[in-house]
């Protein structure tokens, strides 16, 4: 049997290493930064909440019931002052729950993305009539849009701005309340509490598995990126990097599918039957009753204020 030998192009290759910086290397930085940032955000969001705050000590079912009651109240309030009061209360909960203000601001920044697209048309006189604040466009007299006759001008109305402002405030209040709930409760405990409150088993299962797989997905993405970096001598252009990211999504899908399957098998193997069991907490304690009573009082006051103010 002959002993294998390395090909000449390999054994006679001369290392060509330069320590000088490369300008093209900078092209990969946005991709690297985006992945690193994504990893950081997901790791932080999935981390176990700090147990230090009084909100973290409330029984999850009581916390969910209270938070949901406040969210429903926020959607029903029409007058501005009760809504502002509820928003202030949500802010106070955030601060007393020891949540980082930066985290809250990040969540708030996402609110306009979703709500502005919905509410912007409501500020216009063609949707909400009222005194004009700003004229955007003048139509020719007698203009029509399909079966509808157009007004003389397209304006932003005062009433429309009030409607939009109320909608935004309502959205911010609801998002803040949900953040308080999510950030002070461990995800698995929260899902289990939702199950106990009657959420269908299949939803609970899908949410539980999604929560588990997020970390799996993140790890696989990091591995693919690192494997590519280790073989990159000079990075391509930004366009090339973007193309690579798009192509690697397919690979990522296959890998995560395989790993997710293994995670599911590992869960089944240890007795998971679709109904996730978590550490039992004692029944409702004094703090839970205080929380529920306080929520009931706040809702009663808001209802009264809505009538009187």
């Amino acid at each position: 049997m002959s002993v294998p030998t390395l090909p000449d192009w390999y054994s006679n290759s001369v290392p060509d290493v330069t320590l000088a910086g490369s300008r093209s290397r900078r092209a990969s930085l946005p991709v690297r930064r985006a992945l690193a940032r994504l990893a950081e955000v997901i790791a932080r969001e999935l981390s176990t909440p700090a147990d230090g705050s009084w909100l973290a000590r409330i029984e999850p079912r009581a916390k969910i019931a209270g938070a949901l009651a406040l969210v429903v109240s926020a959607t029903l309030l029409q007058k501005p002052w009760p809504l502002v009061t509820l928003f202030a209360l949500a802010l106070a909960l955030t601060i007393s729950g020891r949540l980082a203000l930066s985290r809250l601001v990040r969540v708030w920044l996402g609110v306009p993305l979703f709500s502005l697209a919905i509410i912007l048309p409501a500020t216009l006189n063609i949707v909400t009539h009222g005194p004009a604040v700003l004229t955007l466009w003048h139509f020719a007299p007698g203009s029509e849009f399909g079966p509808w006759a157009l007004p003389e001008a397209l304006t932003i109305t005062q009433t429309g701005l009030v409607v939009a402002g109320r909608f935004m405030l309502r959205s911010l209040t609801c998002v803040t309340l949900v953040l308080v709930l999510v950030a002070t409760t461990d995800a698995s405990v929260l899902l289990n509490a939702l199950r106990r409150l009657g959420m269908p088993r299949v939803f609970g299962m899908v949410l539980t598995m999604s929560h588990r797989y997020l970390t799996v997905l993140l790890r696989a993405a990091e591995e693919i990126h690192l494997a590519k970096l280790s073989r990159t001598i000079t990075a391509g252009t930004l366009r090339h990097e973007q193309r690579w990211v798009a192509a690697s999504m397919g690979i990522l899908f296959r890998r995560t599918h395989q790993l997710a399957q293994e995670v599911h098998e590992a869960m089944l193997s240890r007795g998971y039957d679709g109904d996730l069991q978590v550490k039992a907490r004692p029944g409702l304690q004094l703090l839970d009753w205080i929380w529920l009573s306080a929520v009931a009082l706040v809702i009663a006051w808001l209802a009264l204020a809505e009538r009187l103010i």
Partner: protein, 302 residues
């Protein structure tokens, strides 16, 4: 408490064939049974079907043909999902996956250890006792609050095994348990498996590591590269049958230079060979560790 009959075979496989969807057969006509307290090693080359076989034994996959029975009851999708058998089966049989990253999916080590007993609906006090005892047994109390993702490979393997032990299984299936471990963790693992064996736990291990198998198993099942069971007998006999090991691709016919000539002979992973190739011997493997020149002979051990 073992609620299954003690004199029953733990596993019994009859004419088992398995293929992945739209794929070729990865197991062909497999027949064997495993009795309580047996320590069995499943040996075979890469892709011979070892991992698939363990998945079948754990009721995660189901045979395309034939049947797999555990504790006298056939493992089907229905039976492993129907209580009380499903719960008792999961409590009795633990599976150590090859990929610890897939096995460790909780946010802390403590959650990992608690996961199994909670899913098996054990009482809270019992769960707490088991977790504390297991942390102490594995010497991983200091890792209790750590995220499994931040652990080293050896620590991950320990936590993965600990997460199974808290369920209290009397049967453990281990897929390549010693793969990728440093020598100290490998030694620890070997000693722990021997401890389990002495405690009467039934062990079924899939491995390439012949030295690990020699120390931990009594019986070997060897799968050929065409996915058939070609040997079922004592480990010692299997490890001394070089033709068998060569045919199953468990050892390799290794070509190397000795005193200027190319020499080919089988290599066992657990022991050297006696042929000194006409060169003076330089002592055994435990002796001098100075680098050996390519043209030097002497004992081999890989």
């Amino acid at each position: 408490m073992n609620r299954f009959a003690p004199n029953q075979a733990v596993f019994a496989l009859e004419e088992v064939c398995y293929s992945y969807p739209a794929g070729p057969l990865v197991l062909r006509d497999i027949n064997f049974s495993v009795q309580t307290r047996e320590c069995v090693a499943v040996l075979g080359a890469n892709a011979s079907g070892k991992s698939t076989l363990l998945h079948l034994l754990d009721g995660l996959y189901f045979p395309t043909q034939g049947s797999v029975a555990a504790f006298g009851r056939e493992l089907t999708e229905e039976s492993v999902e129907t209580p009380p058998f499903s719960r008792e089966f999961r409590q009795q049989v633990g599976f150590l996956f090859q990929n610890s990253d897939a096995q460790l999916f909780c946010t802390t080590v403590e959650e990992e250890l608690v996961f199994g007993p909670l899913q098996l609906r054990l009482p809270a006090e019992q769960v707490e006792t088991r977790v504390l005892d297991t942390l102490r047994l594995f010497g991983i109390e200091h890792l209790r609050e750590r995220s499994p993702q931040t652990l080293s490979g050896g620590e991950k393997k320990k936590v993965a095994l600990a997460s199974i032990i808290t369920c209290g299984p009397r049967v453990i299936l281990a897929d390549e348990p010693s793969a990728g471990l440093d020598p100290r963790t490998q030694q620890w693992l070997t000693e722990f498996v021997v401890l389990l064996k002495r405690s009467g736990v039934t062990l079924i291990t899939a491995s390439h590591d012949l030295s690990f198998v020699a120390e931990t198993a009594d019986r070997a099942l060897i799968l050929s590269e065409d996915h058939r069971l070609i040997y079922d007998g004592p480990v010692r006999d299997a490890l001394s049958d070089l033709d068998l090991l060569l045919s199953a691709n468990l050892i390799h016919a290794h070509a190397h230079l000795h005193a200027g000539t190319v020499h080919v002979h089988p290599h066992l992973h657990e022991a050297g060979h006696d042929d000194d190739h006409g060169q003076p011997r330089r002592g055994d493997f435990g002796g001098s560790m100075r680098p050996r020149r390519a043209d030097e002979g002497g004992p081999h051990n890989r």
